[in-house]
């Protein structure tokens, strides 16, 4: 009997250790990638501070949008319209900023529009009893078309696309806040708020429950529609902040603005250790870790394959894809247990 108990204890310890290792793996990978990045920058005699600034600029919007999106992923849902939402909010925000000349208006309009669009997704899904990702597919087309129409009506043709560009006095105002300190502050405030909601309120706990087992959650009286609406609203908040930061950085908005965000969000979240099915093991900091890791990896690959310019871009995409699959595979080791998530 004692021997059996001892064997079970060893099994349990092993299980806990494996769980801990897998939980820490994204952070370890981030640190490893960061160290490798610094070594590579130094080996090539690159400007380290400029590269870190670039990394920050590349990651900010992705982290903001992805952090909001975590709530949707936790429910086991997927929002494919996040990129289009970011674009549409940026367009309306830019027009409002152009009209008012007030940066506060830019942020406010971007957030209100993005939250409204995101809520519309959830409400439509709720009314018509559709899977939420289905409404997001429709919303992707609608928002892209509306944004394109507005940009073509209000913007000017530049190169092969239209864009709405801000006058130089407004650009100067934006440049004043386009600093690492401001961007980091925005991310920190947003992350603290999201971590609080996700880890220390009933909202976060119920969402994890819903994502883990929707039927069980329903039987305990948790409303799928209500928490779906809350998740989409929070995702909208992330998209709104992301769209404002895009305008602050680029000073212009075109039909191709935020075009890669939708897919990057998904990749970044998975890179950060988020289970692809959501549920109890969802982690709010996945977006932060994954967003930076993903950009670090891409930057490292671009430097390593610099000399192979003919095939470089394709090669980076292929290797990124292989890494993505490898990460999903390693992360899924933890889900294969027959035990319920603890």
């Amino acid at each position: 009997m004692e021997e059996l108990a001892s064997r079970n204890k060893i099994k349990f310890d092993k299980y806990r250790l494996k769980k801990l290792v897998i939980a820490l793996l994204p952070l370890v990978a981030l640190i490893a990638l960061f160290v490798a990045y610094l070594i590579i920058l130094n080996a090539n005699d690159y400007n380290v501070s400029m590269n870190l600034k670039t990394l920050l600029n590349q990651s900010i919007v992705l982290i903001l949008v992805a952090t909001g999106a975590i709530f949707i992923f936790t429910l086991g849902q997927f929002d494919i319209s996040l990129g289009a939402n970011t674009l549409f909010a940026a367009v309306i925000g830019t027009l409002a900023y152009k009209a008012s000349g007030n940066i506060f208006v830019l942020f406010l309009v971007c957030i209100v529009v993005a939250v409204a669009c995101s809520l519309l997704n959830a409400v439509i899904a709720s009314i018509f009893h559709l899977p939420m990702f289905v409404t997001t597919i429709a919303m992707l087309s609608v928002l892209t078309a509306l944004a394109t129409f507005l940009i073509q009506s209000e913007g000017t043709a530049s190169g092969t696309s239209f864009s709405i560009t801000l006058p130089s006095n407004l650009v100067n105002d934006l440049s004043a806040i386009d600093t690492p300190a401001f961007k980091i502050s925005v991310v920190v405030i947003f992350m603290v708020l999201m971590i609080f909601i996700f880890n220390f309120t009933k909202v976060g706990r119920k969402m994890k429950f819903l994502g883990g087992n929707q039927n069980c959650a329903k039987l305990t009286g948790i409303s799928v529609s209500l928490f779906g609406i809350i998740a989409f609203a929070l995702a909208g908040l992330g998209a709104g902040l992301g769209s404002s930061m895009t305008v602050v950085y680029a000073h212009t908005v075109s039909t191709t603005t935020a075009s890669s965000i939708g897919m990057s969000v998904f990749i970044a979240i998975v890179f950060g250790g988020m289970p692809i099915n959501g549920g109890a093991r969802s982690r709010i900091y996945s977006a932060l870790i994954g967003g930076i890791s993903y950009n670090l990896m891409t930057n490292i690959l671009f430097i390593l394959f610099q000399s192979m310019q003919g095939v470089r871009d394709g090669l980076v995409q292929v290797i990124s894809g292989i890494f993505f699959l490898a990460i999903v595979f390693v992360a899924s080791i933890n889900y294969r247990s027959k035990n319920l998530p603890r």
């Binding site: 590269n51 864009s163 390693v330």
Partner: protein, 381 residues
């Protein structure tokens, strides 16, 4: 155990990468690096420029031209420019045309030279940027040149080909470059737009909020119009409908050789375009139905490089007012396969028009001398 293997593999991969990077760092120490921002990574014109820079100029001058991935948005362009700056590039050549005014300022703030290698900045952006110390300038067809190129094409098809019904592709109108070409084309054909002719067509379109409506075109030559700003399916469907009407020719103010050359070759409809002298276009002219091409040649980027090298060498070419220059450069026009081959053979990667001897003679010139050299007609006779 599986995790351990995975981690070992990751560490091994990282170490290999570091070793690779360390090796590449040593070998490229003295090379002058120049970043090139591109929106088009596969077009014939873009590949021609790339081949000239990487396979000729880089070897002659110990320069390295680092190409960006495909730039699709202003934020990507800015991020990539920052990446180039972080890689210690001494200059950036912009061929992506995404918020150039902002990029000029970014480069200036970081003491990296910035030059435009394809297309021109808007007048407002150029006025705001020309006094920046690190903005070298721009060389390309100006709007008058664009207008005259369209005009010549229209006149040729009206007078020499006697066309009466044609298809026209408007590319990215109201992009000013394409709109000026269209104004020239319509004028050359003897048609009017809302009663306007010449460059007044441009002002009329901009007066209407930059909306180009083909139903406003009137004249002896009947035109079926296809706009480029639409979804891909609709554009191809419109071109198909135009071809079905069996037009005398399909005239284009840009991008037709990239998108519709095979379709038009297959239908046997003669077409024209404003593009560049590349092997694919040569093939369309020899074996297909491309009948008229006004184009750039790959080494026409040479003066931009010469200006950048002058600046890096401390002999920057500035206007009398000490500002960045804006110079126009014309197109060559081929109306037959023989003419095309003559142009193409005159500007190969092995023996470009702007070869080392000519480039050396441009580096460090005064502004006036540089203007005269760029303005010289180098069309092969």
């Amino acid at each position: 155990m599986k995790i351990s293997k995975f981690m070992k593999g990751t560490v091994a991969l990282a170490l290999a990468g570091v070793a690779l990077a360390a090796c590449s760092g040593e070998s490229t120490e003295k090379v002058v690096k120049v970043g090139v921002l591109v929106a088009d990574v596969s077009g014939e014109e873009a590949l021609g420029f790339k081949s000239y820079l990487q396979n000729y100029v880089a070897k002659q001058y110990n320069y390295e031209f680092i190409y960006s991935p495909q730039i699709e948005s202003a934020e990507q362009a800015k991020s990539q420019a920052e990446t180039f700056i972080g890689q210690n590039c001494k200059a950036i050549i912009d061929m992506a045309d995404k918020n150039r005014g902002d990029l000029a300022k970014l480069c200036n703030d970081n003491q990296v030279y910035f030059a435009i290698g394809s297309g021109m900045m808007s007048d407002e952006d150029f006025a705001a940027s020309k006094s920046l110390e690190y903005f070298v300038g721009q060389i390309g067809p100006n709007m008058t040149t664009e207008y005259e190129t369209g005009l010549a094409m229209g006149q040729y098809y009206k007078d020499a080909k006697n066309v009466t019904k044609i298809g026209v592709y408007g590319a990215f109108i109201p992009n000013p470059m394409h709109l000026y070409r269209m104004a020239g084309l319509l004028t050359g054909l003897g048609d009017t737009y809302k009663g306007a002719t010449g460059q007044n067509i441009v002002f009329t379109v901009f007066g209407d909020g930059a909306q180009f409506d083909a139903s406003n075109i009137a004249g002896d030559v009947a035109i079926d119009y296809c706009a480029g700003f639409d979804n891909e399916g609709a554009i191809f469907a419109t071109v198909g409908q135009i071809i079905a009407k069996n037009p005398d020719a399909f005239l284009s103010v840009g991008m037709t050789t990239t998108f519709f050359a095979d379709t038009l070759d297959g239908a046997g409809v003669e077409y024209s375009d404003i593009d560049s002298f590349t092997s694919a276009n040569g093939n369309h002219m020899k074996n297909g139905s491309l009948g008229y091409l006004a184009g750039k040649y790959s080494s026409s980027l040479g003066p931009v490089f010469a200006a950048i090298k002058s600046a890096i060498d401390g002999k920057a070419i500035r206007t009398e007012a000490g500002e960045a220059f804006s110079l126009s450069q014309g197109y060559w026009t081929a109306k037959s396969s023989e003419e095309f081959e003559k142009f193409q053979s005159a500007d190969s990667v092995e023996n470009p028009i702007f070869n080392k001897t000519l480039l050396d003679s441009l580096i460090g010139l005064s502004y006036t001398e540089f203007v005269n050299e760029v303005a010289k007609d180098r069309t092969p006779q």
